[in-house]
């Protein structure tokens, strides 16, 4: 595939671009600016940048106050801290009053790597998805990330954007790609099975699809960058066309993309579903690639899931 860019890098650059376009955008961080890449924004707009230190609850509350006063705050930290640690603050100070706060969390998933389980967040999509008024976006690559950041600033209300640590292949041509919040992207046409993926697993799904094509299996690949609101129509259409669905995410199989897809299909068009993701366990320290192997998050795991679900058609 093409070059690899970390979605957090794309985020840092997009924030700077946004900062130039929109004087009301402000950015907050909690002592992780070099890692989340909000440091890029801080260099160009120091007046509009607030590193509140290791105080994430205060960060979210301060963002709420800034939003109430007409600013467009982007608040960042690692996913584990930007969702779990501040859950009540997001719920009561942001989601319930529907304030215009954008939470852009980096280092989601097991690819955090060596820091280990305390820092590897695989429950964040579930936590954010269940909140009313919250839009949840999981960009698959740098192009989607930039588009998501710019789009989020235009949306009215709370947004959660999930970003990763490691470089990921660029899937889209940025001169050609149109980001529509809430609309899934069909990355590959196919009729035998649909692999519905988000984040880093979109690239993995394409790789698996290539291999399966060699076996004569026609794989439809959907990139669902917006988990909430879910593009139910696209998901149902994919299920109708193929009759079998595999979901794939760098997240627990409980409550994330797999959960959302299973809910939609169970109600609208039940088909055999197999969820690829972290199997209800915490992560551990290790090299990102080794962890993806160990925790079942590779193209090979998607291929196995496809074989399994095809048997149930």
């Amino acid at each position: 595939m093409s070059k690899k860019i970390a979605t957090r890098e794309a985020y840092g650059a997009a924030l700077v671009e946004l900062g130039r376009l929109n004087p009301n955008v402000v950015v907050l961080d909690a002592d992780l600016a070099k890692s989340t890449k909000t440091a890029d924004f801080s260099k160009e707009f120091p007046q509009r940048f607030f590193d509140v230190g290791i105080a994430e609850q205060n960060m979210i509350g301060t963002a709420a106050g800034l939003a109430a006063a007409g600013k467009v705050p982007f608040a960042s930290s690692f996913a584990v801290f930007a969702t779990g640690r501040v859950y009540d603050q997001i719920r009561n100070s942001v989601a319930y009053p529907r304030l215009n706060v954008k939470i852009a969390a980096t280092h989601a998933g097991v690819t955090v790597g060596e820091d280990g389980a305390s820092h590897q967040m695989v429950e964040d999509i579930a936590l954010m998805r269940v909140l009313p008024n919250m839009t949840v976006i999981v960009p698959a690559d740098a192009v989607e990330t930039r588009a998501a950041v710019l789009a989020a600033a235009e949306m009215d209300g709370p947004v959660y954007i999930r970003l990763g640590r490691s470089g990921v292949p660029v899937l889209h041509d940025e001169n050609n790609f149109r980001f529509e919040p809430g609309r899934a992207v069909t990355l590959r046409e196919g009729n035998d099975v649909a692999v519905i993926a988000c984040g880093i697993m979109a690239a993995a799904a394409l790789e698996a699809a290539e291999k399966l094509a060699g076996e004569g299996v026609s794989v439809r690949v959907l990139d669902v960058h917006t988990i909430k609101p879910l593009d139910v129509q696209a998901v149902v259409e994919a299920a109708k066309i193929t009759g079998a669905v595999v979901t794939a995410e760098e997240h627990s199989i409980i409550g994330g993309l797999g959960g959302a897809v299973a809910e939609a299909l169970a109600e609208h068009h039940p088909v055999p579903v197999r969820r690829v993701g972290v199997l209800d366990t915490f992560g551990e320290s290790g090299k990102p690639d080794e962890l993806l192997e160990k925790y079942g998050l590779t193209p090979a795991d998607i291929t196995l899931a496809v074989h399994e679900v095809l048997k149930r058609k």
């Binding site: 007046q47 609850q57 709420a64 106050g65 800034l66 006063a69 009053p97």
Partner: protein
């Protein structure tokens, strides 16, 4: 200090009116938080009827002063003040907590004009106030952000994160009140998890601290004026108050934190408040 007696009398009478509303609306609702609403009534009256630069006809006026009721369960005192001040009809106060009423059990900024932040989950209001204050500094506006905290509420860690930040960011446009009535739900604050010495703590966090009798209208106004002169640091006014103040059977009682008076109790309380018995 030189505050005209007429002004003080007017404010005291308004505070009495607000206390009557608190009793009536919580009684009508059959639930709610009278004790902590009554203890805050004099401060809230001073803010809405003398101190704050506000316009009820323009709740979104960008230059307005803001008030964040961080101890959101005292919603009755906020609603009473907003209604009396003209943000919405006084006649709607008895709809507190009813299904479909904008007057939610804890303040909802989307439902009630004049409510600056939705609160209810304790410890979050000061952070929000800081955010508003930061926006004001960014925009070159000189509005002030007032915020009221409870003395049980300051057991929440986020309060101290926000306190640290307000001093760090030199938010001299933040003026906080501590409604120091000494009681929380499970007992006196000093017995449950003592926050003492409160004044020393806020000083150590870099705040300007004043201590007053929270039921002395002249002292409240003087403290706000003094706080307004503090530059480069946030201010807090630690107000010694009486939970349930103004209602003889509620004063100093832990049990009246979150219980509604029955009709005959409402009657008695209103009689006391009509007579100007304090």
């Amino acid at each position: 200090m030189g505050i005209p007696a007429e002004k003080l009398d007017r404010l005291r009478e308004k505070a009495r009116e607000i206390r009557r509303h608190i009793i009536t609306m919580v009684g009508a609702a059959g639930s709610g938080h009278p004790g902590g609403s009554l203890s805050a009534a004099d401060i809230v009256t001073a803010l809405y009827f003398e101190v704050m630069r506000i316009d009820p006809r323009r709740p979104g006026w960008p230059e307005r002063d803001r008030f964040v009721l961080s101890k959101g369960h005292a919603a009755p005192v906020l609603y009473a003040a907003l209604a009396e001040r003209g943000y919405f009809p006084v006649a709607s106060l008895p709809s507190l907590r009813q299904t479909g009423s904008p007057l939610q059990g804890h303040p909802d900024m989307r439902k009630v004009p004049g409510v600056e932040m939705s609160t209810g989950s304790l410890g979050q209001g000061l952070s929000a106030a800081n955010g508003m204050a930061l926006a004001g500094k960014l925009d070159g506006r000189d509005y002030r952000v007032f915020v009221m905290l409870g003395d049980g509420e300051i057991q929440e860690g986020q309060v101290w994160e926000a306190a640290m930040a307000a001093a760090h960011y030199k938010l001299d446009n933040v003026i906080a009140f501590l409604d120091h009535n000494g009681l929380q739900i499970d007992g006196p604050v000093t017995e449950i998890m003592s926050p003492e010495p409160v004044a020393d703590k806020w000083r150590a966090f870099g705040w300007d601290v004043q201590e007053i009798d929270g039921h002395d209208m002249a002292a409240i106004l003087a403290a706000v004026a003094r706080a307004g002169e503090v530059q480069g640091k946030p201010s807090i006014i630690v107000a010694r108050t009486i939970k349930g103040k103004g209602c003889s059977f509620m004063e100093h009682q832990v049990g009246w934190h979150g219980s509604a008076p029955k009709p005959e109790q409402v009657e008695q309380a209103l009689r006391e408040l009509a007579g100007g018995s304090f």
